[in-house]
Symmetry: C2
Subunit: 229 residues, 2 copies
């Protein structure tokens, strides 16, 4: 199995966490989506990451579609650790939260953070590169604070974000937070419930690979790889 990804694309990170929970180890192919590589466009006409490729389905593009595909082809094998519950209402809640993080939190917080602070370093001027835009960053950080509170509110009421069991929703929230945490942009001191939940998920062996990642010339925040942050 191949995973076409970018190390700081939160949707790609979600899929890496997901694959690790399934015990799958894909070959990683790094993509810079702003270069619009024809090989990536052939796998996914939308031109973005993540995409997985394996014999069974040629190419599976997009975080949510990959999550459904893995559940349908391998979910039963996880037994009680399946990442989507069996009951309809439970599935609705996991999908609702997963899409909340992948769409709302992404657009409002993690996409602008990653774009302004990471991607623009690698883009040419024509591609939209340049110094980070201070207004975008300020808004993204304000929004992140509000998403962190929501995560804390869920973590206080429930064992895991969508209920009694670890689910796709936890992996989605953690993937987005991990990117912001690398950049030192998560105000952990503002929400102990969110922090305790993140400490639990970050300590899982499946998280280890993400914590060793780093960008040349831009080391992670002090707390990034620290399990007792």
């Amino acid at each position: 199995m191949y995973l076409h990804h970018h190390p700081f694309c939160p949707h790609s990170r979600f899929v890496r966490l997901l694959l690790a929970e399934y015990g799958l180890e894909p070959e990683l192919v790094e993509e810079r989506v702003w270069e619009r590589r024809p090989g990536l466009l052939a796998l996914n006409p939308a031109g973005d990451t993540p995409v997985i490729v394996e014999a069974m389905a040629e190419s599976v593009p997009g975080a949510s579609i990959i999550a459904e595909y893995l559940d349908e082809t391998r979910g039963l094998a996880l037994g009680p650790h399946r990442l989507l519950p069996e009951d309809p209402a439970g599935r609705v809640e996991v999908r609702r939260l997963t899409s909340w993080f992948h769409e709302k939190m992404y657009v409002e917080a993690t996409e602008p953070l990653v774009r302004e602070r990471i991607h623009k370093r690698y883009m040419s001027r024509d591609q939209g590169g340049g110094p980070p835009d201070a207004t975008s960053l300020r808004m993204a950080r304000a929004n992140l604070r509000y998403h962190l509170k929501y995560i804390g509110w869920l973590a206080k009421a429930r064992k895991w974000l969508a209920g009694e069991r670890l689910s796709q929703a936890d992996l989605a929230a953690a993937a987005h937070l991990s990117v912001a945490d690398y950049l030192g942009d998560v105000p952990w001191e503002e929400d102990e419930h969110a922090r305790d939940w993140y400490a639990r998920i970050k300590s899982r062996p499946t998280f280890r690979a993400l914590l060793t990642e780093s960008i040349p010339g831009m080391p992670p925040s002090k707390t990034y790889a620290d399990l007792d942050f």
Copy 2:
């Protein structure tokens, strides 16, 4: 079953088509999402339409989540007319196209068309109301042309957009096009394959309810309800 919707929200129209294919007739509750009604926020913290409510799952928010929910709770009963195929690769393709229309076509074309030409008529100045923005409209129309070509390209190569069978992908594309068609913004003469496919789907009895809809003071385009447009 209740469906909280807006008559010109393409995602709501998709769910209405979907429910009709399942033979379900929900009670319709009209929502103006820009008013942020507390009752709607309680059903869907994201505050948008569509949301379905029934005993089995309390509330099911969002077009894609509703589609998965209906397939899981009632898909088998449709037998050979099931709107998601059984094979993993077929499901990936249906979901890929459905999300293409719901996300990409929506953001690039139908959302700005509906916002500028319909919603802004009902919004106060504080809510963002006012005359349509000409630049947004021009871009949305240019993008719609490109989405129509993609639909035509799929319709030429396949019987239905995702393969041999009518699927969620057809209903999604048709829901978005139907809104633009009401406004007279679809350049049908530019793609006969897209037009022939749309004529087929528009002739289904499940489409009838949408074709009788109208906005006071803003009648539909001449071709909107015409099955031989």
